[in-house]
Symmetry: C2
Subunit: 400 residues, 2 copies
């Protein structure tokens, strides 16, 4: 790398500078306070840990997305975290001894080996909240509500859409049809691509009953508003019980969420199979016209702690605080008071008192003539024997 | 790694769990607010970047301490940051176009390949503040003051000691004596170890003038209170100008800091040569009897931006927020209000209102009988037609 390029960041790696860093910091506090007010306790898992701990039971996508390191002290393989949820699962399983519901939240950087797309960041600032130890629908309602509250707290409320799915619909259909791994993947690709002619040919080649054929062909069309669920109950009347239970679960969840957040649009995608292989039940994501991609997402992942020796129900969501900050309302910059240079005790005391009151006070450094770039709308100046704050005259320079 | 051990963290890697995570979060906000009140703008550099950017001009220690990765997208070498200061230097040099003083602060995790000692963490939560673009003593006074304010804000004020040194003393003496690299390192080791008999033999072997011999032998004894500086001016009367200027600089700095913080003890170590090779002037660290090691440290590093094509004066300090949290006053846990399960609209509204007032409200989940472990001292209950908060009777269970 040439000298002139040393300051460039790797493609897709982003850093946050003023004034945006303040925006991110303000939202970080606002959202962690929101989670605290809902009873979620913050945890701070490490950036690196044993690779097995990070990747156990989470599937291949996360494996590929995780940087590997060798621990020079032990020779063990370490991973640089690409996701925080497996860490929180480990913490719930082993580091805390809650028996009932355990509400946890976190905010921290993760690193991906590859960006999801041309515009995506390889180092999101992952923020999320999770409930461990409760299997009922109420915990799903709580985390979906908290995900919506997260967006509302950032001023993202216009045309907010909640996208709901359930992994048991797709998985149940595939299991009933007896698809092998390869067929399963092929079918999934065709469904995701909504490649209907190829799908027909593929389904015909499977030699299934007419009923099952109809179900496999119907799945890619099962997305849209609440009517999708009513329609699905009819089309899938002969589907396995697990599929029908999943649809019924989505109906109940939708009703509870609609009651709490009537302004949020609901969208259902029954062919949805989320990227993170750890999901085991309902999956959900939030969208808004202000951003082309998913803003926040989550779901239920009941078995995630199993490989740590304590399998507990779990549900939660996560988001990227940098994206939230990009699409949220701008937070005003904080104007300061410019104080003159000097060591006079009365001046130092006056500065100290203003700062203790929560004011931003910048004391000018001698021979630093660039105070124009400091965002100060007031100055501290001596009048008679006391120091007073007065509006700043932008045409006047401060004396030393 | 056996299944049963998957939840273990690598040696020296630490994570922060409740209730300590709250303590860390509270201090994080308090200190970033302090820096904001002093006019320092927050930056958030990435966890990984090009290795050359992280290691340029910082010396071998940091190189050994930095995990290396290969960018799968470009094939370039990346580093997982072991220090944030070189990143902030890059930001000042290239990403911001301040001409005068630029005050920056940060808080983020770093990872070290090896722990400094048996008890040290390999993943400190580095917190620091820096001034770029000002060469005068006033910027050193400001960052030393802010370092002291950092500890005071954490309640660390008893027997606080500020340790001051200046790299030009040691470097000037070594240059005047004409020591080669190997002799320099050997001399440094002997001085650090205060190995006086070996030092005498070594210095005698160098065949220097009597004056220089005397200076080289005096250096390891030059530590203690302010009298060290007065004594040094006599012993080093024939030392190179740069050495005498450094001592005079320490005298001025000590006077200014003593005036502002009379309760802080000053200690001088003229043989001090800090680990981070980027220091070019005064170096300082803070100690307290409550912790066996340095709590915070910093110094001047005027050339750090040079390799990014913009050499500006710089001075700053950093600390580990986890250590600060370990030795600071305990922050009280936040008690909550336990609300019953249910979807009654009046209940949901009552919960929402309490949370909006900043109260912590945990809504009980059905069939979750472990609310005793939740830190709630009040409950929300219905009296007549309204929901009221009442003290919690620890012997009673909430109804669903």
């Amino acid at each position: 790398m040439a000298l002139a390029e040393r300051w460039l960041l790797p493609d897709g790696v982003k850093e946050i500078l003023p004034p945006k860093a303040r925006q991110v910091e303000v939202l970080r506090r606002r959202l962690l306070d929101l989670y605290d007010n809902w009873g979620y306790e913050q945890v701070m898992p490490p950036l690196v840990e044993h690779l097995e701990s990070l990747l156990t039971g989470v599937g291949k996508d996360l494996d590929i997305n995780t940087y590997k390191l060798v621990d020079q002290e032990s020779g063990h393989s370490l991973g640089l975290r690409a996701d925080i949820t497996p860490q929180v699962a480990r913490i719930d399983a082993h580091r805390m001894d809650h028996q009932g519901a355990n509400r946890l939240c976190y905010c921290g950087s993760v690193v991906h080996t590859r960006a999801e797309n041309m515009l995506a960041s390889r180092n999101p600032l992952q923020l999320g909240a999770e409930i461990y130890g409760h299997a009922g629908i109420e915990s799903d309602v709580e985390v979906v509500s908290l995900m919506i509250e997260t967006l509302l707290a950032c001023g993202i409320e216009k045309e907010l859409t909640l996208d709901l799915g359930h992994v048991d619909v797709f998985r149940g259909v595939v299991a009933e049809a007896g698809l092998n791994d390869e067929q399963h993947k092929h079918y999934h690709r065709l469904v995701q691509a909504k490649a209907l002619p190829e799908l027909s040919a593929f389904v015909a080649s499977l030699e299934l009953t007419a009923e099952l054929e109809q179900i496999l062909l119907a799945l890619p069309r099962m997305n849209g508003g609440i009517e999708v669920l009513q329609n699905a109950q009819q089309v899938l009347v002969n589907a396995p019980l697990v599929v029908k239970q999943a649809i019924s679960y989505l109906e109940q969840l939708a009703e509870k969420i609609s009651k709490r957040y009537p302004a949020v649009d609901l969208y259902f995608d029954l062919a949805e199979l989320r990227g993170a292989n750890y999901h085991t039940g309902v999956v959900f994501s939030a969208l808004s016209p202000s951003f082309a991609q998913t803003i926040a997402k989550g779901g239920r992942y009941d078995c995630i702690g199993e490989d740590f020796g304590r399998s507990r129900p779990a549900t939660g969501f996560s988001t990227d605080l940098v994206i939230l900050s990009d699409i949220s309302e701008n937070i005003a910059m904080r104007a300061g008071v410019l104080a003159p240079a000097g060591e006079e005790l009365s001046l130092l005391v006056a500065i100290d008192e203003l700062r203790k009151q929560g004011q931003r006070v910048i004391q000018r450094l001698p021979e630093d003539d660039h105070e124009a770039q400091l965002f100060c709308d007031r100055v501290l100046e001596k009048q008679a024997d006391s120091w007073v704050v007065v509006p700043r005259d932008p045409n006047l320079k401060l004396k030393n």
